[in-house]
């Protein structure tokens, strides 16, 4: 096992990694920017080293400064957290070449899964469902009908030269497809001078479904079931939950197993997340693989009892996964709420400044991952997430009630946070009845 791990990150995830290392008996070195001087998480590290000024490009993204800090502090491994350099295969390579274990996948596995084409090819081999679509335009209607039949209705007909919704037609059967292509070609020819159209799988109501997986250096890979992250605004996840509500158990098992198989074939050691869209019929289409620990990992920890961060460190140090797939069971329901320093009433304007009130919820099933305390000043340099509230309960309904209670207890001031938004969403029937999709938050928030 490692003796000293350098943490190339900040805030709550730095604190999360410090806590994991502490329990494994590992010393920690935190690098920090001068904007983070005095950050509460630094007190919890064995050592901390300032590596540059506030802007990330001059500190948290400066590979040579991080490596220099690892050298002078005699670290033997580097944990990238999420964001910053965590999915930078070059950084992973430099760490390895400089004699520091990168806590994450090998640069090769990271590059393989980071490349859309290669990743899709491997996914096909592994049986991981991928997003079907034509690889180019089509001119022949019969060919389009054949492809649509293969990928399944509904499909969308898009003009190759198009944009802005013009030349687009959604087709739910062959008849409407033939009509749609005819209309789309005419419209496209008139509008763009190019009658070429193509056909893609169309998801009318998709949910974001992602599978937590973890592999080791001995050829093992296990999934920790999935998370539903459909509550998004501008592709930023707001509420995550595990497991995804209302999913057919057999379909769940199959797609989760396929995600584990994918990272096994990639010789992937560490935690990763396979992101899918799920349509209303519970078909899955892989979007991408995130080759790092995810912000929302704690809800998977809650329902499986597996410490994902500690396990990631163990496998990086060469240990085999300490559990098998058959040991993993879903226990209850968990939700995570990202406490962002943003004002929902003013178009989510980021908030920075002194935290004067920070009164946090507690009791059974309440976990808080945050580096904030009264007197902390939220810097302007980094993202607005100042904490994560994780709520675990025996079932989804209790989890929602518990979450409403906890959010009601959570007082932050004077800066505004996303807490009031979550209190609203948790009372929204689309969400409580799990009829939500990835667009429901934006629809709710749009003035209209």
């Amino acid at each position: 096992m490692f003796k000293r791990v350098l943490i190339a990150n900040r805030g709550e995830i730095a604190l999360r990694i410090i806590r994991a290392c502490r329990e494994l008996g590992i010393e920690t070195i935190c690098v920090y920017s001068s904007a983070d001087k005095g950050g509460p998480w630094l007190e919890q590290a064995t050592q901390s080293i300032c590596i540059g000024p506030g802007p990330s490009k001059d500190s948290y993204l400066r590979i040579e400064r991080i490596i220099a800090a690892a050298e002078i502090s005699h670290a033997d491994a580097i944990h990238p957290g999420y964001g910053f350099l965590s999915e930078n295969a070059h950084f992973a390579e430099v760490c390895r070449d400089s004699g520091f274990e990168f806590i994450g996948p090998s640069p090769e596995a990271m590059s393989l899964l980071g490349d859309k084409v290669n990743c899709k090819r491997l996914a096909k081999q592994a049986g991981t469902p991928i997003f079907p679509g034509t690889e180019g335009g089509i001119e022949d209607i019969d060919e389009a009908v054949k492809i649509a039949g293969e990928i399944g209705y509904p499909v969308i007909v898009k003009a190759a030269g198009g944009g802005g919704g013009r030349g687009m037609r959604v087709a739910h059967d062959e008849k409407s497809l033939r009509l749609g292509i005819e209309q789309a070609r005419q419209e496209a020819a008139a509008a763009f001078g190019n009658p070429m159209v193509f056909v893609e799988k169309y998801l009318e109501s998709a949910r974001h479904f992602e599978v937590q997986v973890i592999g080791d250096k001995h050829g093992n890979a296990v999934h920790l079931y999935e998370r539903d992250c459909s509550s998004q605004r501008r592709h930023q996840k707001l509420i995550e939950e595990a497991p995804a509500p209302g999913v057919d158990p057999a379909k769940r098992e199959k797609v989760c197993a396929s995600a584990a198989e994918l990272i096994r074939r990639a010789n992937y050691a560490g935690a990763a997340t396979c992101e899918f869209l799920m349509d209303a019929k519970q078909n899955f289409y892989m979007l991408e693989v995130n080759t790092r620990v995810q912000v929302e990992h704690p809800i998977s920890e809650a329902i499986t009892g597996i410490d994902i961060v500690q396990t990631g460190i163990r496998v990086a140090a060469g240990e085999a996964l300490p559990f098998k797939q058959k040991d993993i069971r879903i226990n209850g329901h968990a939700m995570e709420f990202r406490i962002n320093a943003e004002d929902p009433a003013r178009n989510f304007m980021p908030q920075a400044g002194l935290i004067e009130t920070w009164s946090t919820p507690g009791g059974p099933g309440i976990r808080l991952d945050s580096h904030v305390r009264v007197g902390y000043r939220v810097p302007t340099n980094y993202d607005s997430m100042i904490g994560k509230l994780i709520v675990h309960a025996p079932d989804r309904e209790t989890c929602i009630r518990r979450s409403l209670g906890a959010l009601g207890e959570f007082k932050v001031g004077p800066i505004q946070t996303t807490i009031p938004l979550y209190q609203r969403l948790l009372k929204e029937p689309l969400f409580t009845e799990a009829r939500h999709d990835i667009k429901y938050v934006e629809r709710l928030l749009s003035p209209s």
């Binding site: 001068s34 005095g38 080293i49 540059g52 040579e64 002078i72 070449d97 400089s98």
Partner: protein, 147 residues
Amino acid sequence: MVENDLTELDLRDKDEQATVRRNNSFAPPQVFHQTISTPTGQSQSSTASSAGKSESKGESKGSNDETGLIAIESPMVGTFYTASGPDKPALVSVGANVDSDTVVCLLEAMKIFNEIKAECSGTVVKVLVKNGQAVEFGQKLFMIRPA
């Protein structure tokens, strides 16, 4: 790429400016990457309110912020060397006069030695860091009384 692939000339074995290069892709081969140091009080836009025990242990306790003195701060993370070689005299000592271009020390990181210039004119009043000591970004290295 392994560490031993480095083409390296240890400065401490040479008399004059040496070419130190590393065959890697993330830092271009360079000759004494030189960085400008900035005066005290302007370099760190620290906004944190509580200064806990998060200070690096390498930070000097003895730096008196006497009015009128200028600090030369470390522009990088690395190891501090007072001389260009083990058998060489210190580049500057207390009492030495420096100007903007005077090389006051070397900072080594990832086998690359970086010359640090004074970037101000005056007299060295204090050397705050010991030879071979690790320094972090923004750490005060020298106190200068401006000319």
